[in-house]
Symmetry: C2
Subunit: 323 residues, 2 copies
Amino acid sequence: MTIHLAVDAGGTSTRCVVVDESGGCLGYGRAASGNPISAGAALAARSVAEAAETALRQAHAAAGSTAADVGSVLLAMAGASALSGTELFAAGLAPLGVRARFAFAPDLLATFCSGTWRPDGYALVAGTGATAVRVEGGEVARTADGLGWLLGDDGSGFWVGHRVARAVAADLDRRGPRTALTAALLAELGLRDDGALHQGRPAVLQRLIELLYAGRPVELSRFAQLAFAAAGDAVADGIVRDAADALLHALEAVADPAVMGPVVLGGGTLVRHEALVARIAAPEVHRVEDGAVGAAVIALQQASVTVDESVFARIVRTLSALR
Amino acid sequence: MTIHLAVDAGGTSTRCVVVDESGGCLGYGRAASGNPISAGAALAARSVAEAAETALRQAHAAAGSTAADVGSVLLAMAGASALSGTELFAAGLAPLGVRARFAFAPDLLATFCSGTWRPDGYALVAGTGATAVRVEGGEVARTADGLGWLLGDDGSGFWVGHRVARAVAADLDRRGPRTALTAALLAELGLRDDGALHQGRPAVLQRLIELLYAGRPVELSRFAQLAFAAAGDAVADGIVRDAADALLHALEAVADPAVMGPVVLGGGTLVRHEALVARIAAPEVHRVEDGAVGAAVIALQQASVTVDESVFARIVRTLSALR
């Protein structure tokens, strides 16, 4: 029985699903980041191999499948097209006995296919970054944003966390309005405002600057949750509202009246936007946890298996039982 | 005759003035960045020594002054208080024969003192960064902003250049309004929009992303000039107007009705804001090129020389003749 390895390799973690051609998921494994761009080549190859090893072990116990049965490996990841080749991952999987053909798919397509078996529709993902895509005939036809923290990702976790940090800095600096975010952020960082001044500026602000510049800019994403937690505070509410506007704006930018279909929402930041879902004018809106189901869907499609409503439902159900 | 070395050590270049106790400037030298925070300790010490060597050579030719006549060295620089000591610069100047006491002053104070001999007033500086200070009795009493590109510097060169880059990215991404900044920025970078797509996104946008992420974020400052050059374009005008608002806001944040005095404007970005000066409600507004005059003023004050209107005028006149 032919099986396929479907890998959803994210910037934080990697998920590998062993799926058979009826849509039955036989094994599931998780590991660290499998994206060479964010994690580096060595860690990425190791993470994919580790997740695959766990998934294959489970599939062997459940159905007697072995690495020799693997017909293909599908890797869903951001920036997949920029990778020079499959050698990196093939070398990582060879020790497991996997010698199959490799294919890549955009991570956003895997997110979309995690929410629906239909070939047309939209996906909006907001984690650390933010991207919207229009999918037509199972392919990404149009992308909006996803330009990274410096040039875009409007409404993303970084975007929100960055605004939180700037609002707190402006508050402490007496340039911006008072906000509950200040106490929350200082508590998060273990800082205390004792009223002391340092060169005509609050000493706590100086400490905040030193701490935040010592990290990488994208780490400001971790403050996004403070904006949601401070609901009722005018500054926090303004940031959350602007983020929702920006995310919907990206979705509108990829919209085509001729392409009707479900909207699939993914990413850790989006889950927090309660009010946003109600603002999406689409017949079906689905939230998904990650791109694991979608990677399995794409792996089967590339193996010429038709993924209809019932095959899709089997993937969702059997994978859900494994994790 | 006692002379003093007054050094204005900026992030881009360093200026050293040899000044006598009547306010006569006898020598002037320039070199690369003398700020250890931005340039690193080795380059900073070398730059200060190089500028001092040129200035001392000129002072020797003009007035026979030597390194042995140097009574003090005044170093005006950003973040001076964070420096652990004077050893770094003392070691750099020792080979020249300079063995004098050292003192540091905030760069913003040097900017203020470059525009006026009065002890009270305000300075607003917008170069790559943006800071406003209130000066009372020759000391910085209150600082607003200057929090760096990630957390503040609202209205600065980086702030404007960053918005230019984001506006162009949004335009190419069809999320933002069309703007003349796009053609200007692409021309600046030698890029051409040939209409080709790359993964549902304009190929030229992909190239732009790769180019801009390859540099340091602060390098986006170089695009600030495009916003001023595109006057008449709605997007560019909006960015410039918001920047002016932010700069005036910082100035208002340090204002104290009890402290009347001149407003001194400095920094490369501020020079471009034609409309901003008219919006400053102060009896005197002065623009200055850098902090060289002010460093000389502070050096003399620290040597117990009273810098009144006529001494100040002599510093300005004699330094201007040297550069």
